[in-house]
Symmetry: D2
Subunit: 206 residues, 4 copies
């Protein structure tokens, strides 16, 4: 899994502060560091809409279609995903679940299965089956690339859901990485999220 | 593919008329049939937001995960889909693309592939692999069930996109069925869509 | 303020149950009353997206433009509002805040102010000022009509915000009425909201 | 009216190109200028979702509440507006419609009306009426400040609606300014919009 931050609102926390202070016309209180406590107070008070004025765009590579089928269910984000109708998958890579990777026999069986599917897929294409039909045999494990954008409010919402212990391991790993990135870029906006590296989850202060 | 209308706003066109007439306070013009021309005029003028006051809910069975990965990208709808994390797929059914179905050899190869995956999947489960990991080998062809709701404005938008000649065959078949259903339920709201049964597409009057 | 339920998904709780059981393929557990505990459990677990399959449409009359400017900020709903560009307001009614109504002198001053504005507005129209320009002098108090639709998930969200003690009195009164209506129509979907008639707020069980 | 661009996605057109090329895995075609024709082709083909990966944030001052009541109806944007519940309006400014400004008598009557309202408002506050109640007499003309964010796809949609000859003059002036700003920042994303300075509208190539 490769996660890259493609773009983020410059000076995001200052933009958010400016927007939020418009509600109260308290721009006079802006100092170099005033956004830090101000944003934490807004979050504490549930005044989250102001976090929508900052956007982050991520590029993901080497994630499974199982992951993206979960990700794209978050409807307040924007997605551009590698198409299996227009892009041939002759050489598809695949994601291996950790519990399978750890077991030599399971791993062998799993990889054989993937190679078998790759052969069948290529064979179909050679027999003039269209890519959009041949892809019907491609597995959830198949690697895909996707660019997605989310505002900071929405990112907080998704991190809370997909970083939790109930979430599936692959999407949890993704949002651990995203939490790390966002805590560097906008520490006040994500101050209450913490990665638990032992349990591989994201915790939220209540 | 089984498409069932689970629910729809009762007297949808009258609800839409009432809402739209609130903008102009022209409720006095309501007669038994006044909604018919009125709604067509609203659509012609691009005043589409009033169509959002009516909702339709569909239940789909026997569609592929390839179809639902496209469907759920329409973000202004609501979805509840059969989970591959919580529901075991020991006995999964699969969708066969028509171009493959028509070719005896391709069909045989395709079905063998599906049976092979079903065996591998069952074998994984028997070896204590969790359903959420075993599903990584399941193909796009795998049948799924989904309930989805869309308001009439959004339905018009999706029919136009997914019923067109550029759309993929399976989702096109779905929206041919949905067009037929909606034209019966709310003929004025979908008056400008027509199914071309020869080309298997939905056409829109301009 | 007149609040009328224009339309609601028939058998809403059964529709929601059917949709939610699709996720787990547990339709076999449906009985006449099974939705009651099931929906409460879904809400308790935060699985709220299933509540989006039911829609309610309300017609409001005699509310102020101050109220609607707050209401329309809820972006996951649909709105059709009486236009001040297309509908003349020669005879506009107005909302009086309770604290002003209770004070004889303030009430007199307030009503004089409204009558003054009505005269000025009419005078502008007689001088060939367009309605869309004359409305610039109309007050926030001006009564308006609006039809709005929200799904049950969104209604729960808005009730929690606008029924709370922090909310403004007029919109709070609106959502007290809406809570009463929804508790009758879909008791399981709104079971944890209770109207406190002394404090005139909506409370939520935690 | 003062319109300020608070923030915009850096290298917005390159971000959009990168996202869109992910769909086709055609990153190899990226050159210094490749985004220009590529984005125009995407727009021509109606592949607009890729424009959602760029966000612009504007700060507006000196616009009327009549304008913002229209603006906030665009639900796929984010808003932070000066509150009339929390900010006192003792010294409110007001917008004057051009047709009134041009007529000496109308202008006089209009300004008197505004001064009258300002006096009444101050008088209410002095009599311990809360700001949230006193504001009921404030007019649509009352100046307000608002920060709003919209992605480029949504901006195109709003410019087309609110820049057209059917739109109201004040919001049309706003989107003339925004069109000018966006054509400088992202010329390929807004290439088909042109300001007609004689008619004071925004035209769109078809």
């Amino acid at each position: 899994m490769k996660v890259q931050l493609v773009s983020v609102t410059p000076n995001a926390e200052k933009v958010i502060e400016k927007a939020a202070r418009t509600c109260y016309m308290s721009h006079g209180k802006i100092t170099k560091c005033s956004h830090k406590e101000f944003i934490k107070r807004l979050i504490g008070a549930g005044h989250l809409s102001v976090l929508e004025h900052a956007l982050a765009t991520f590029s993901l590579e080497g994630v499974s279609r199982a992951l993206t089928h979960q990700l794209v269910r978050h409807r307040l984000c924007s997605y551009s995903q590698q198409s299996q109708r227009y892009v041939r998958e002759d050489n598809f890579q695949w994601v291996v679940p950790p519990d399978i990777k750890e077991d030599k026999n399971l791993k062998k069986e799993y990889d054989e299965c993937m190679k078998y599917l790759k052969d069948r897929y290529s064979s179909f294409l050679q027999n003039s089956v269209k890519a959009e039909d041949a892809r019907f045999i491609l597995p959830n494990a198949c690697c895909t690339s996707i660019v997605f954008s989310a505002n900071f409010r929405q990112l907080r919402h998704i991190i809370a859901l997909r970083g939790s212990s109930k979430a599936q391991w692959e999407i949890r790993e993704l949002f651990i990485k995203i939490t790390e990135l966002m805590k560097k870029i906008a520490p006040s906006c994500f101050y209450d999220f913490k990665v638990d590296y032992e349990k591989r989850i994201v915790k939220k202060d209540v």
